[in-house]
Amino acid sequence: MNTQLLLIQVFNGLVNGAFYALLSLGLAVIFGMLRIVNFAHGALYMLGAFTAFALGQALGLGFWPSLVIAPVLVGLLGAVLERTLLSRLYGLEPSYNLLLTFGLTLLTQDLVKQVMLSRFAVSSAPYTPPEALSGVVNLGFVVFPKYRLFVIALSLVICVLTWFVIEKTRVGAVIRASTENPAVTRAFGIDVGRWVTGVFAVGVGLAGLAGVLAAPIYSVEPYMGAELIITTFAVVVIGGLGSILGSVITGFAVGVLAAVGAAIYPPIANTLVFILMAAVLLVRPSGLFGLPEGAR
């Protein structure tokens, strides 16, 4: 394989990596703080894309306002779900929240499909990138869509920002404290329940944001999150459950590796990430950046 093709695939991989990173970041924040394995993450990602599409259809809102409004709406829905349903399962086995979030996924997919069919007469809808980002740029070695470069850049910014807030700020310290030792944190006069809700909302808001970013690249359809979420879980496992830095780095790395791997040997495209996961788990059962069980 020549260098040009390799470079092309690296770029290509970074785009997919950006989606993996944003989604696994949300999963890591939620799992790390709340110990919830959120299987509904893919459906919430789809809901982000669908909300952007629906806002455009109903209110004529373009991409830019939707990029802010849709994740906020998805985040608010997340807060409602956490308050009304998930909060009732804390302290129970993790399989309960897995079942609940899986059920929510099926429900959301079918609801969106019904709405799409009855309101828009299609179950797969077009969404175009904003004027300023449509078209392609010549990078010398490849002609690449501007919009995809934007996705890589924005996703990097969001990931760094999230990591910074959680690891380096006072807000982050409170969040970490409320999840690691709720009793003591409560004793300091902090409303732990509200913080937990907030963290969940931000986590699913990130999924919503990834959804809006995906809408101009993939068609908006009810099952768009279903396939992606499986790869994302693999990314989370490789990176180490709950590790924020791990999920971001692994997200981008897996995207690039899968793209380069697919260029060298196409049939491996869909399985490479799982081969990688198996290999990593053999060597480091807690993932590349995860802490061993005892250290938690």
């Binding site: 040009q4 069919l117 077009p126 392609v136 068609s219 768009m224």
Partner: protein, 404 residues
Amino acid sequence: MKTTTMTALLAAALCAAPGALAQTLTGGSIKVGVLTDLSGVYSELSGQGSVKAAQMAVDDFMKANKAYAGKISVVGVDHQNKADVAGNKAAEMIDRQGVDVLLDLPTSSAALSASAVAKGKKIPVMVVTGGTTALTNESCNKYTFHYAYDNYMLANGTGTAVTKRGGSSWYIIYPNYAFGQDLNRQMTAAIQENGGKLAAPSDATPFPNTDFSSYLLKAQSVRPKIFGTMQAGNDLVNVVKQYNEFGLKKQGIGLGIGLLFETDVAALGQDAFAGAIATVPWFWNYDARSRQWSAKFEAAFGKKPTWAQAGVYSATMTYLQAVARAKSDDGDAVVRALEGYSFDDMFARHATIRPQDHRVLLDVHTVMVKAKADAKETGDLFTRLQTIPAAKAFMPLSESKCKM
């Protein structure tokens, strides 16, 4: 004594007369089974619309043939595009619900499976939405008829038209399963027969798949005249979306599509498809007859018909007329009435049912998708480039591997 005999005979004859028809129909009625995708990826292009189309055919037939009034009903069943489900449902529909014919059958694997089951039970099958040529080749059987289209017709129509219009070099991608592999083979053959060539070997893509960017980047570096995609349904929508995103059209690389349904164009907006060439057996605004029927369908269903749904209407009507000719719904009798039959209706023009392999031959059209600005009315999607006559549109009998 003589008078009583005569009276008895007369009475018997009088009693028998209205019942004569009922006696030749098993169970005294005909049940039309639409085995289709009611919930999945093909539910928009077939699904409930196909069930509605079959119902319309039944109603029209009963109105024109009073003897059958009230004796024909339609049942729609979901096969989820899965071969095993399709086989089970086909058996259940025939054995438990007393279905006399199976219709529609999107997804090649599901069509093949249901066809094999129905063959064992001697029930006619009219495949409208399934595409594989295996149905009239190695997997053909006495009870299966292939209506509307198949992969050979698509490849022959589009490959020839595009190559002749200057699309002399192609790069093709296809979904890696029976339908895609078959269509890629047929398309490549059609291109080469017309003096075209492949700019690079065809690539198999995972199925289903959302991200086609690496193939589009490859197309950029290979620079073919035509980027050919054999993807269907939602995968096709993604390919075409990304084809536009990567600006291939502006770079002078045209788009050739293996299988196109009206619903795909609706999903992405017709501008994204504008200029793409495909082959279809029918479209709603082809002529006055197709228009008239489509207006009726739209009034009843709320949407314009796809060519698959129009095909289901036509296939149902063709089946019922064969029952009328055979004066029986017995599978063998209906098959005899269908074989070699020539007809012409709102969907199938200059149509003949080839007795040797049960391929339904009909005129098909190579079309180019119009830009939105060129559309004269809602849903005006296609400019007709040419009509391929029934005799030339499908695989010649000499190439068929069918042994019935």
